[in-house]
Every structure is written in structure tokens, then in C-alpha cells.
């Protein structure tokens, strides 16, 4: 508990990062929905109207959560490993770091969702909120995984951007036939459906839950593995 609270305080003491966490999703949703729809049409996708605004909220929350997840894991790596080796253990340090970072994902998702609510008429707002949060959690995990294994800030942030771009441009709404490897596929399906005023089937929710769980578990495992003792 001491550890998780300390790591959370550490994040709250970076006011510029917190401001970006709120500003980026909000501005992206407010400004980019029309451009996204044009872009999707050019790529052969059918994204338009409130569905474009909804998906934009998810992507914005995802990108900022992924970037911050990466920098949280990478910038504190040395100190976190020292603490793990001092007796805290890699698993517990990993859990505390990820729990503390969840606050970032929640803030990014809330900013994106509130902007979406202000801009579009969403029939199933709780569905949209859950899907935006899922986007943020999945990308937070992607950021933590990359931050646990990639040393350089430049290489790591490029890796996060690469995963994001690949995911976005091959995912539902953008591509004519979405790629099966798209990490946020189910989150995008649910979010687009909510933007179109449709409820998602139970199977989609189960798959979305599984995707979020697998992403967080992978982040925990990779972080803990990278912080283990090599003795």
C-alpha cells in the first residue's frame, strides 16, 4: 500500500503530464472527428459521424495512456529494480507500478469520454465509457511492456507510436477488412457500435474483458520479469 500510494503521488506531482492527459483526449475528440471520417473513407473504411467521434475518443485516450505508461515504466526502471532487489520483490513492485498507472488511464479515459459526451449524442453512454476506458487500459499495458524492455526514450516512444499507428490504420472503421491482430479490435467494435446507437452483443463484451485482462497480465508479467534478480 505504501508503495502504490508513493507511486501514485509521484505521478500526481507531474502537473504538465496531467494537463496533457486531460487536454489531448478532449481536444482530439473536439477537433478531429471530421478529419478522421475523411481519412477513414480514403482508406476504404466506413467511419462517419458520431462513430468517428467515438472512436477518436478511444484512440486519444489510448495514445496518451500508452505514452505515459511507457514513460512511467522506463523513467523509474532503475529505482524500481533497486527496490525490488532490496526485498520488495519484482511482482509486488510491478503490481504497485501498474496500479498507480491505472489512475492515469482512468483520467485519460474520463477526459476523452466527457469530450465525447459534449460533442456527440451517444445513446449508450456507459458502453462508450467502458470502451474508452478499455482502450486506455490496453494501451497503458502496451506502454508498460515497452517501457520494461526498451532502454531509450526515443526508441520506446517510437515503438509505442508504431503499435498505435499499426493498430489504428488496420482496425475497425479505418480498414475495409480489419486485421485480426489489432490489439484494440474489440474496444473499437464496442465504441463504434455505441456511436451508431447500437448495443454490443454479450460476446463482444466478453472478448473485450478478455483483451483488457490479457493486456494487464502481460504488462505485470513483463515488468516483473525485467525486474527479477539475475543472481
Amino acid at each position: 500500500m505504501t508503495r502504490t500510494l508513493a507511486f501514485t503521488r509521484e505521478q500526481l506531482r507531474a502537473p504538465f503530464a496531467l494537463a496533457l492527459l486531460i487536454a489531448v483526449p478532449a481536444l482530439f475528440v473536439a477537433a478531429a472527428a471530421g478529419v478522421l471520417a475523411d481519412f477513414a473513407r480514403a482508406l476504404g473504411g466506413g467511419l462517419a459521424g458520431d462513430a468517428a467521434a467515438s472512436l477518436g475518443a478511444g484512440w486519444a485516450a489510448a495514445f496518451i495512456a500508452g505514452s505515459l505508461g511507457f514513460f512511467q515504466a522506463a523513467s523509474s526502471r532503475g529505482a524500481d529494480r533497486r527496490l525490488a532487489l532490496a526485498g520488495a520483490g519484482p511482482g509486488r513492485v510491478a503490481a504497485s507500478r501498474i496500479l498507480a498507472s491505472l489512475a492515469l488511464a482512468v483520467v485519460a479515459a474520463a477526459a476523452g469520454f466527457i469530450a465525447l459526451q459534449l460533442r456527440a449524442d451517444i445513446v449508450h453512454p456507459w458502453h462508450a465509457a467502458a470502451a474508452v476506458l478499455a482502450f486506455a487500459l490496453i494501451y497503458l499495458s502496451v506502454g508498460v511492456v515497452i517501457g520494461s524492455v526498451v532502454d531509450g526514450a526515443l526508441e520506446g516512444s517510437l515503438a509505442v507510436a508504431f503499435v498505435f499507428l499499426l493498430d489504428v490504420f488496420s482496425g475497425p472503421g479505418m480498414a475495409e477488412s480489419p486485421a485480426p491482430y489489432s490489439v484494440s479490435r474489440k474496444a473499437a467494435d464496442v465504441l463504434i457500435a455505441s456511436g451508431l446507437g447500437e448495443a454490443s452483443p454479450g460476446a463482444d463484451w466478453l472478448k473485450l474483458g478478455a483483451a483488457v485482462t490479457i493486456a494487464l497480465a502481460a504488462a505485470l508479467a513483463v515488468f516483473a520479469y525485467s525486474a527479477r534478480s539475475r543472481l
Binding site: A6, A79, A86, G87, S229, R230, L231
Partner: protein, 216 residues
């Protein structure tokens, strides 16, 4: 890792380590350690010197568990203190919060942790910085915190990697007094440096050359 015999707190035997460089189709291996062997007994203050790039910090990281070794054995106690060359701290956390985190990691109870912390900040004279964030500390004060965290749980073996870089003269002298006081209480201490000016204070000095330790 294995617990060491009663009369030895650190035993490093024939440790080897190589690093690979270059792309997979043109991989080159650089051997940094080629059978490094050294020993530290309780109550000994041992030095490890060597040129820049000789592998001193690599050997230290292997003993701590930050790096995997390719061969050889390392035996060390469970209660170990490690003061890395570059302070590994969280910029946004305060000095007091660092002590809290490490006290929990070392499994110290509240009273023992507070007594140890108060003694160390008094000894190293940085009481007034307790509520400062690390990002607001000078390099020397960061180094004091770095050292204090390694000593918080009164370890059986203390590993110091260039511990006094950034210290002013007064703190440098106090550092050696602290090291000698702890040695007299039975702590085994290994000090790594590229330059050891205080050889008369040391029980033994190893020189790391060509990947091997020789008694200098």
C-alpha cells in the same frame, strides 16, 4: 544465490561475463570478466580498483543481481546493502518517502526504521532535506540519500560503487569514519572505485585487470 559460510560474507569465484555487440549477422563478443575471484569477510573493508571500463561496476551488478553472470559462483548474504554509482532514486518523491519505501522493502518495523533513518540523516547531516523532493536536491545530497538507503537495514554486506562522488571534503571524511565504524561492528564492506586514495584504511585491495581480480 546461496548463504555464505559464517566466516565469509561475500565469495565470488571465477565469475565470467561477456557482452555481445553488433547485429546478429555480425555479432562480436567482448569478454569483460574472465574468472574474477574475490572474498570479503565480516569486519573487512575491501577495495576493488581498476581502470575505467575494467568491469568493476559489472562485477558489482552481478553480485547485487542486476546482471546475470555467464559462469562462476557468487555467495552472499540475504541482508545486503547496495549503493549504486548513479543514485537510483525517484525524482518526484521526497527523501522521507524514499526511506518509507526502502524500510518496507527491508521489512523493518516502524520504530526500527525511524531510529535507523534518524541516525543516518544525522550522521550524514541532511536532516533539513527530509521533505525535499529528489529533483530539488544537489548531486551530493542525492548521493547521501543513495548511501543512507543502502545502510538503512544495517546490512551484513555493504556494496559501494564509487560512493563518494559528489561529496564535499567534510562528507568524504565522514563517509570513511562511518565505514570504519560499521566495519568494527562486523559489517563486510566492498568499495569499488577507479581511484582509492585511502588505501591505509582498507583490509585488502583487489585490482581488476584483464577481467581478473589480483590482490594489489
Amino acid at each position: 544465490m546461496t548463504e555464505v559460510a559464517v566466516d565469509t560474507v561475500l565469495s565470488v569465484e571465477g565469475v565470467t561475463k561477456a557482452f555481445g555487440h553488433g547485429p546478429p549477422w555480425h555479432r562480436r563478443s567482448v569478454e569483460v570478466l574472465r574468472g574474477a575471484t574475490l572474498q570479503v569477510n565480516p569486519g573487512e573493508l575491501v577495495g576493488l580498483v581498476g581502470e575505467n571500463g575494467s568491469g568493476k561496476s559489472v562485477l558489482m551488478k552481478i553480485v547485487v543481481g542486476l546482471l546475470a553472470r555467464d559462469g562462476g559462483t557468487v555467495q552472499r548474504p540475504e541482508r545486503l546493502g547496495y549503493c549504486p554509482q548513479q543514485p537510483l532514486l525517484w525524482d518526484k518523491l521526497t527523501v522521507a518517502e524514499h526511506f518509507e519505501l526502502f524500510a518496507e522493502a527491508y521489512d523493518l518495523d516502524g520504530a526500527a526504521a525511524a531510529a535507523s533513518r534518524d541516525g543516518l540523516i544525522e550522521e550524514l547531516q541532511f536532516v533539513k532535506y527530509l521533505d525535499y523532493r529528489v529533483e530539488d536536491l544537489s548531486g551530493g545530497t542525492r548521493q547521501k540519500l543513495n548511501l543512507a538507503l543502502a545502510l538503512l537495514h544495517d546490512p551484513q554486506l555493504l556494496l559501494l560503487d564509487e560512493p563518494y562522488s559528489g561529496f564535499d571534503w567534510e562528507t568524504y571524511l565522514r563517509f570513511w569514519e562511518m565505514a570504519e565504524e560499521r566495519r568494527s561492528r562486523g559489517m563486510g564492506i566492498l568499495v569499488v572505485s577507479h581511484l582509492l586514495a585511502e588505501r591505509e584504511r582498507l583490509t585488502r585491495v583487489y585490482e581488476l585487470r584483464d577481467g581478473r581480480c589480483e590482490v594489489a
